[in-house]
């Protein structure tokens, strides 16, 4: 593995991304929405207190919230549900970049010239994966930091405790990147089979759906996932990503690209 080769691919991908308005829109707009939405929902509504049994379950999951007022508790509980959106972001953005990148190369038939150079398949694949994952992760981290700052300003410093909880840290900084990896793998696999980036994104986005299960379980039961559970989830997701990467690598074989990709 020659990192200079992979880095050349990364730089080339990023140069193309910044000139692709649709892709830039795809990268910048969702994080902005995902920062604004929880702040708007939480600060503008006049929430009813949580039902006692749900409130008890929430406090049992997050003992540090025990000192919160009923209003703060329901605000904290609402904000907690937006954690999943910070797991969708590092999945969605890499998926969009990977599908645009690969389908775009199929359409322009630019890969053949690349494959005619001494670059190895693993270097090309690594470059494409890094170029897709990093913006997604950085966007989600930047959005998270923005949310922390703005919530402290707009809602109150009491809410800072929600975001600095180890569960958020584990989810955003460990599980998020793992989801990004799986998402890129899905993008690679799906893009090798279709010729329209939108179709590839629609199919690939199925990998993000399990994230929504976190929201459903938390809102239905009041039980909040803990940091060790997010880390465990990250390990499982990363393992799936590594296995998927091997499958993607075979689809990304030189001969396959040249003779079967249409």
């Amino acid at each position: 593995m020659r990192f200079a080769m992979a880095w050349a691919v990364v730089r080339r991908e990023w140069r193309e991304i910044v000139r692709n308005r649709l892709l830039v829109f795809t990268i910048l707009v969702p994080p902005a929405i995902l920062v604004a939405l929880p702040l708007i929902v939480t600060s503008s509504s006049h929430p009813q207190p949580l039902p006692p049994e749900i409130a008890a379950q929430v406090v049992a999951s997050r003992p540090s919230w025990a000192s919160m007022s009923p209003t703060e508790l329901v605000q904290a509980f609402s904000l907690q549900q937006f954690l999943s959106t910070f797991l969708i972001l590092p999945g969605y953005i890499p998926l969009a970049i990977a599908t645009f990148s690969i389908v775009g190369e199929k359409q322009s038939r630019s890969l053949e010239a690349v494959l005619a150079t001494p670059i190895r398949t693993v270097e090309l694949l690594t470059g494409k994966a890094v170029a897709a994952v990093v913006p997604g992760i950085l966007a989600s981290w930047l959005a998270f930091a923005t949310l922390v700052v703005l919530s402290a300003v707009l809602i109150g410093s009491a809410m800072t405790i929600v975001f600095t909880d180890p569960s958020w840290i584990a989810a955003v900084f460990v599980l998020g990147p793992a989801i990004g990896l799986v998402s890129v793998v899905a993008g690679l696999i799906v893009s090798s089979r279709v010729n329209d980036p939108r179709v590839a994104q629609q199919i690939g986005s199925l990998v993000i759906l399990p994230v929504l299960a976190i929201v459903v379980i938390q809102t239905a039961t009041g039980r909040l996932f803990t940091a060790p559970e997010y880390v465990l989830g990250a390990v499982v997701v990363a393992a799936v990503g590594v296995v998927g990467l091997r499958a993607a690598a075979s689809l990304f074989g030189r001969e396959t690209i040249l003779t079967r990709w249409r």
């Binding site: 080769m5 080339r12 140069r15 193309e16 010239a113 150079t117 001494p118």
Partner: protein, 361 residues
């Protein structure tokens, strides 16, 4: 490298293996011819090692053989035209020789390096212009070349120098910061050729370089390719454009699944010419004139107005006798010309195609 299943390894293949193993020692010197118009000659290859050698090369896709039994040897600096109709296996051949796809049978080497066992080294020595330019439309001309220079491990200084030289050579220097997507087809094709030359490959593959271009763009690209002829680089020009192959190639190979015939354009024409003579008369030939032609040994006599076309065994030897016979029969001979075979007629002949103006074959 696979050799089984299709044909046994021959003595020739054994020799080739030895050539591959001895390759580093043989390629130590450089004796390339001088370079024209700023294209640097490849730094390696001597005349002792063929630039390209293929023995029994074949590729199968499923049950269908795209190419089989391909034997070929090109000298360094040779321009080889690979002619064939669509689906003849030209692209597959180029891809096998360029180390992009593995042969199903047989073996091939570029500068003595086996394409199957060391494709990475082969790819470092070849440049390829694919059927479509395959440029990154959202990158500038310079950025496109920079990227490929990086993939070939070139230093920045060397890269910058070569990029400038090639962009100037192909008259794209003023558009170096223009997005490739905004270029005309001809400019894109020239940029793609510059990309293929950037690392100064010893072998250049051009796959349908003027396909889909308008006549002006095709002319520009053909001129660009023509300027490379004296660079000492081995060039394989895969095309179905007969005129292009005839103008640019030292030798031409006719491919249709197999390599049917290989020779220089002049020898191909010589071998096919010399049999047809066209005679211009003062008027339509009389029966006596036609009989005189037959007596003089002419066959396949065809009259079209005052022009008579005949077939003879040897045009140069038999033409004086034909003229004497015509004059004796009372004909007014205005002109006599040996009809030269065109590459098109040779192509149809070799491919076994009977052209039909109504679209059939």
């Amino acid at each position: 490298m696979p050799t089984s299943g299709h044909r046994p390894a021959s003595d020739e293949e054994e020799t080739m293996t030895a050539a591959i193993h001895d390759e580093p020692a043989r390629r130590s010197g450089t004796d390339r011819p001088a370079v024209r118009v700023g294209v640097t000659a490849p730094a390696s290859s001597t005349h002792t090692v063929p630039a390209i050698r293929a023995v029994g090369l074949g590729r199968r896709f499923g049950d269908r053989w795209a190419v089989e039994d391909l034997d070929l040897e090109l000298k360094p600096g040779e321009v080889f035209g690979l002619l064939g109709p669509n689906g003849a296996g030209k692209t597959t051949t180029v891809r096998m020789l360029a180390g992009l796809i593995a042969p199903s049978v047989g073996r091939a080497a570029i500068d003595g390096i086996d394409v199957a066992t060391d494709p990475e080294a082969v790819r470092a020595r070849i440049g390829i212009l694919t059927e479509t330019p395959g440029l990154y439309d959202r990158l500038t001309a310079r950025q496109n070349l920079e990227f490929f220079g990086q993939l070939h491990g070139m230093d920045r200084a060397v890269r910058d120098e070569r990029i400038e030289r090639l962009l100037r050579l192909f008259e794209l220097w003023d558009r170096q910061d223009g997005l490739a997507g905004t270029f005309s087809k001809g400019m894109k094709q020239k940029l793609a050729i510059a990309r293929a030359l950037l690392h100064e490959p010893s072998v250049l593959f051009l796959d349908e370089p003027t396909s889909g271009l308008d006549p002006e763009a095709a002319f520009v690209v053909r001129e660009a390719i023509g300027s490379l002829r004296t660079s000492g680089r081995t060039i394989v020009l895969a095309t179905h454009n007969l005129d292009e192959a005839e103008r640019l190639a030292d030798r031409i190979g006719f491919l249709r699944g197999r390599l049917l015939r290989v020779d220089s354009p002049a020898r191909l024409r010589d071998a096919s010419a010399g049999h047809t003579v066209e005679v211009g008369l003062g008027g339509p030939p009389s029966t006596a004139v036609l009989d005189a032609l037959r007596t003089a040994g002419a066959t396949d006599i065809a009259a079209d107005g005052s022009t008579v076309t005949v077939t003879v065994a040897d045009a140069r030897r038999d033409t004086p006798g034909l003229v004497r016979a015509l004059v004796s029969a009372g004909a007014d001979v205005h002109s006599v010309a040996e009809r030269t075979a065109t590459l098109e007629s040779i192509y149809f002949d070799v491919m076994g195609i009977v052209p039909d103006a109504n679209g059939g074959r």
